[in-house]
Symmetry: C2
Subunit: 635 residues, 2 copies
Amino acid sequence: MAKRNLYLNNTPVDEAKALYQKALGELLSPKAEWIPVTESLHRITKEAVYAKYCSPLYNAAAMDGIAVEAEKTKGASERKPLTLYPGTDFTVVDTGDPIHAPCDAVIMAEDLLEQEDGSVQITDAAASWQHVRPIGEDIVAGEMLMPGYHEIRPIDIGVLLSGGITEIEVLKKPSVAIFPTGTEIIEPGQEPKDGDIIESNSRVFEALVTEHGGVPHRFPPIADEYETLKEKVAEAVEKYDMVIVNAGSSAGTEDFTVHVLRELGEVLVHGVAIKPGKPVILAIVNGKPVIGLPGYPVSAYINFENFVIPVLQKLAGRTETVGTTVRAVISKRLVSSLKHKEYVRVKVGEVGDKLVASPLARGAGAAMSLVRADGFCVIPQNSEGVEAGDTVDVELYRSLEEIGSTAVAIGSHDLILDVMADLLPCMYPGNYLSSTHVGSMGGLMALKRGEAHLAPTHLLDEETGEYNIAILKKLFAGEKMALVKGVERIQGIIVKKGNPLGIHEIEDLRGLNYVNRQRGAGTRVLFDYKLKEAGISPEEIHGYDREAATHMAVAAAVSGGDADAGMGIQSAARAMGLDFIEIGREEYDFAIPVRFLDFPPVQHFLAVLKSREFAERVEKLGGYGLARTGEILYL
Amino acid sequence: MAKRNLYLNNTPVDEAKALYQKALGELLSPKAEWIPVTESLHRITKEAVYAKYCSPLYNAAAMDGIAVEAEKTKGASERKPLTLYPGTDFTVVDTGDPIHAPCDAVIMAEDLLEQEDGSVQITDAAASWQHVRPIGEDIVAGEMLMPGYHEIRPIDIGVLLSGGITEIEVLKKPSVAIFPTGTEIIEPGQEPKDGDIIESNSRVFEALVTEHGGVPHRFPPIADEYETLKEKVAEAVEKYDMVIVNAGSSAGTEDFTVHVLRELGEVLVHGVAIKPGKPVILAIVNGKPVIGLPGYPVSAYINFENFVIPVLQKLAGRTETVGTTVRAVISKRLVSSLKHKEYVRVKVGEVGDKLVASPLARGAGAAMSLVRADGFCVIPQNSEGVEAGDTVDVELYRSLEEIGSTAVAIGSHDLILDVMADLLPCMYPGNYLSSTHVGSMGGLMALKRGEAHLAPTHLLDEETGEYNIAILKKLFAGEKMALVKGVERIQGIIVKKGNPLGIHEIEDLRGLNYVNRQRGAGTRVLFDYKLKEAGISPEEIHGYDREAATHMAVAAAVSGGDADAGMGIQSAARAMGLDFIEIGREEYDFAIPVRFLDFPPVQHFLAVLKSREFAERVEKLGGYGLARTGEILYL
């Protein structure tokens, strides 16, 4: 009788998987390639992608109507309508049209009384910047559009193109050689004779490889001959990222696969405790994973799922996600019109034992809000909206698993949060950072309501001159809090390149067009402090009421030309190629309830904060000090 | 001032959707095309596909070992080992090798004591058909492999090829023309000037069309000119299945789309009550759906989801499905080995308020069980299995919605169940029939345990000579039952083509190779009744203990040559081209608890049973009477 390999091992499935994954280790790192964005659907980004352009590229009409100077409409009322003349007083604009200086507001078509001579009457004054989408409202040049290791969805393609990106570096699809073997198998379409088996497993594998992001290369069946099999496998491990041999993985007289693989490389497992499906071979040849699968279709399929797919996913840089609907607590009041069914984009995080949905920007033009969103929350027609703390249904784009391993940050914005969001999943795969920007005080309130794990904050206590500690002690009297030191930030006045207006201190801002940050932002607190110090009242600052939500939006407004100056951080000025006058240094830290310090994504967040990679990226941005980064104060 | 269309409607979303779908009606019927099976991943079958070949194609070794005549191994024991000689007494076989007559059993390699002269000793007699996979165990020629409107998965490709199918008729992917419009838009990659908008919506649409099974054809941007737009749309509705125009759907000075579509065809909706996203146009031109979407990216995206995707899915013949894990009651005892983690394929149904999982064939070769399965149930290593009624986790392949609209039939097998499973989703889209074959008595027991909606049954009461009524009255004493009359079936002896052994009545079966049905099958009850009538004892029938699970498996055994005769229905003999000797007529009916008669999939099942389509298909099969089909008796 011919030789048999009677002795298969009986390794438990999870043990076999872990053993193989460990042995493969770094060998499974994906490769990368550049492709056009228009062909990038479902591909995985290699690293973070940053916008080249703002969107909108200019101040744009948000409504159909007329563009006017708000200043010139003062005094219009029902009793005393104001007549405006085309050319001198207004320009007709459609939604999306640019608004040029000196125009700074749009009056909706519905609010106009058209006169026969072409003039229009208005019965209400226009407020500065009403119905205008400011430059960079959706996307600011230099802003991160998406992090590394992100699967590109249809909406992402739109945002990339809007941000001026046309080519993108993505992970290469792994190539998988598939070898059907066996003297008895025939190709589909041939007339079967006695003892023939129609070969179909390799076609199932082709389809599964395609479904999981690989490129299959199926070879014609090879007979059960030791030398032929050896030669083919040796060739394939040179050329392909992974090899599958089917079958010959058992212990029959013609089961050569395990011997061939032992001669060419290392066999780590032969036989696992699974039914059906025992005869599996897990090997490494020439640094490539080579897997022998059994011939029975069901055994082959189950083992493909157990052993091939995890390897393929690592090679392709993929984690699987599924859409689903969940109940979540809404973190902000949402007022809705009775007239519409409204789709609100939300970020979702699991904080303690609740899912928290934080609404994102609601403008129809805000494509980036679709990219940042974890899902939609639908507010039905005939509803007046929801209160903060209400429970809502959220249709998720991301898997619950992914959401459960996300650190939720709500608070002050800084560019280093983008860097953290990019580094976290790269350094600790499967961990994510979600960050929402509502200013320092807004973040601390969210933390207090249990809707975030951490709050980035930079609030100066005017009495002690210290940052953050006083307010934390005051707000979180009953709770153990950690204050994790972040970065020292250089704050100052952002002005045009070359500083044409010769601005050097706060006093110089009088009479200029200023762009402010929103109430509650640490930068605004600092600005108010500096104004008070200099004895200037807010009324003296033209534009004090014009609010931008982030440092980058301030920089974009200055860069676009409709503001002369704004206060912000040095890195934002540098990112947009603007000049910067230092006004002070402040401490940008992270407030974290002690009970969340053990939560793995938070732990990893802290590890990234202290990493060499983070320090290098922050130094490139410029304008930061890292002397105390990562230090923890318990309050 | 230029003309504006100030007046958009404010139609509620669901009303707009319903109105449009109703107007489109039959216009959305998918077209079909023939393609190679190897390229059919994720395509949708046009109609049911039937196997051309059996799988396995012959009686095959299920283990590595030796093929023997079971008869010749009688008497072997530990104390009195039997020596077998190669050539004369046995042939060495590997798993999958054919077993030729007179061999009818395989002894596993592990059970052999090899001798130096090449002979082997055995210490146990072999039972007939042990470790042999009978011809057609997995797939029987003529059996339905998958129904119409089924999305082809990787495993389906394997089963189609094994069943001898290499080309398949699938629904054509709908082609979608996409027109970006607007004077202000530029292509990505061009340097933007003031007032330019980088066109990206159309690229998002391309990707979404691809994701939902269509083929996008994106055109270069066209300027806001009435005549150009009209010409392009008029051309496109000739060539493509659907047209999307973006944007110009609002009411600005350059929003021509609605006027163009009114001139070319019919505009059903202009403006819906949705935020963001109000300006939507739903039109029909030249019998094709034409949709105008707003320009803001978020509005465009949300309206694409609401209005384009439903149309696209109808054109493509798709319903969306998602995988998930559920808890279900297992309907059968499952014994498992402590040594393995076991994957058991199950069918899942929602019966009353519980999900019921019915295990399918467990052999590793049973690829069809993967196709029939609704999911997997995993029995962990170190578990001895589960008892009937235990709750298990099931990983679903199908959506819960699909499962919730499935009529669950457990009981006796007949080919008309395949016909019903095929017709039901075609005639009542979204409704399915799941049928599991355990014989008449097994089905009634499942019904009693609340695990099925209906049980196909044909049990003769020997005292009254009536079918089904007596047993139902006896088993379901406390419950209101309906007996729905199915078909009159011609039962008889299936023999080889030309009836070479001259079989004419039950008496002629003495001494021949018979293949029987499993205990509890109505056909077996009838056979036992006929044997008793003829005064023949089961011992006189060689092969009385050899059990096949379906009529088709009996026919396959006769056709393959290792049985001379078996009892079964005429349609099975005809499907395999065999001869048939009528023995009697019986009534094949459906037992249904009255409380399930209102369940929509059961209602639709009954409607299909009484349909012209069903009658035509059954007549083609032959061997059935339809005189009382659909009649309901309340017991």
